[in-house]
Amino acid sequence: MKIVACIKQVPDTEAEVKWDIPGGKLNREAMDSVTNPFDEFALEEALLTRENYDGDLIAITMGPEKAADVLRNCLALTVNEVHQCSDAAFAGSDTFATASVLAAAIKKIGDVDVVFCGKQSTDGNTGVVGAVLASILGFSQLTYVSKVRSIDAGAKKIVVERAIEGGTEVVEAKLPAVVSVIKGINEPRLPNLMGIRKAAKMQIPQWSAADLGVDAGKVGAAGSCTKVVEIAVPPPRGAGEILKGEIEDIANTVTDKLIDLKVIK
């Protein structure tokens, strides 16, 4: 079985965000970065799948030079092969352009059975690249997956649980499939020191737009039909009121105020 994990590097959620304001793009090079938290679950699920069903696991990312770090982490976790899709032409890609590049990489890898990705990234927050990727590739689209029940590569079938509004949907789908996973599907493991040391020395192979056969005009800012035109910090909430006094009085006041909102029935 051939398994692919799509991994994204995102700014550390604690770090200061640096924008390239005129372009509406992130200055990713200037920020502390981590593996997108949701992709850690995707990578772990891919590792578990390899352990349970055998096969090769390939991790891919799209991003600038420093995004190689997230793939190095994958190598430290014993992923068989990594590829970094990196080209100046990819900068400013929207959801469709991003998914188009990832789809081209997956096609280049060839004969892929299952693709794992995280539900969303913590920077762009779009939460739709998995669905778009499945649609472009014509793979089964399995989103919000909370459990992989079984994979039968021979019969080309996968059964998963999807955590959706109001409950869990059990879905059987044909392989190949794109599986986007939610938090809680597993407990991501950490690489050991030996793995980290070994990965530090490894070359990260890069794929350019030309390598992927992607038309540079159809990706990146030039090829994206959605564009960020304005960035703002949301206004802070007005400073609240600290209720002081005895608990009895505070409880009286706050329950009155909440009942006055006419929401509680």
């Binding site: 959620t13 762009g124 499945a134 059987e172 959605t226 960035i231 949301p234 409880a251």
Partner: protein, 328 residues
Amino acid sequence: MANDVWVYIEHKDGAVTPMSFELLGIGKTLADGLGSNVCAFVVGEGTDNIAKEAGSYGAAKVIAVDAGVFKGFRPDAYAKAAAFLLDKYKPEIALFRATSQGTDVAGAAAAQLGFGLCTDTIGIAVDGGKLKMTRAAFGGNYTVTVVNEKATPQIATVRPKAFAMPVQDASKTAEVVKESFTVNEADLNTKVLEFIKSAVAINLVEADIIVSGGRGLGSAEGFDLLKQLAEVIGGGVGASRAAVDSGWISVEQQVGQTGKTVKPKIYIACGISGAIQHLAGMRTSDCIVAINKDPDAPIFKAATFGIVGDYKAVVPKLIEKFKGKLGK
């Protein structure tokens, strides 16, 4: 009409809730600005009642794809039908709810048409016939405004409760157009085997009242108290990441950057310090009550009402007062 605003009506196996129609409100506002109509579109089997209800919520026209193969939701089937309709009618704007179904259909349908979309939109304006869509990025610490310059329709998913519900008027009716589009069962990739209803009764994303707990609760038992309060005031129970990661409550109930984004009218945060990752998921709640022992906890900067104290003392008092005042 080419510059119409379309609203996707989601349902589960034919069942709708009033929230299924919520985007007809903002859809009408946008259509009025463009001098066009707000239309609903629906994919399913036996959609007549849904079409009728869409009319009562203000849709001028309903376009339906109705066939047996669309009985239950399947992303590939529904996205193909949605892409077919959007390609045939080319409305100016198509809105979907940013739910699991809305995101699945919008993303895949846009991909089939060959362009991107704006997801989880929280603000929409029309500027020169084009949408300006505001959405949260970096877990709500920034908002970005997005335009869609090249695509028709401009597709957006819209965060639940970001806009007011339209008023229902049973006397209003819509013209219904049925499109005979179908897909072959053999061409579909997915099949739903079963649906297991959640033990958690309240969907936090749609809840008006949430009582939430964090690390400060100290144990899983702390949530028993919060559940009692939630029950008295008709709310759902939420949690911070720390409480979920401690195994005190299910991940389904996590609010924040790696959990759910909620917008209740009342959010009561107990023992939650207010890390930016948690604030990202609840900062747009109408009224926030924070209960925390630490007077310097950042949650107090976001709170409408702050109570410095131990939740173990405060919450039972709140339960007692609510019970008395609400006659429960």
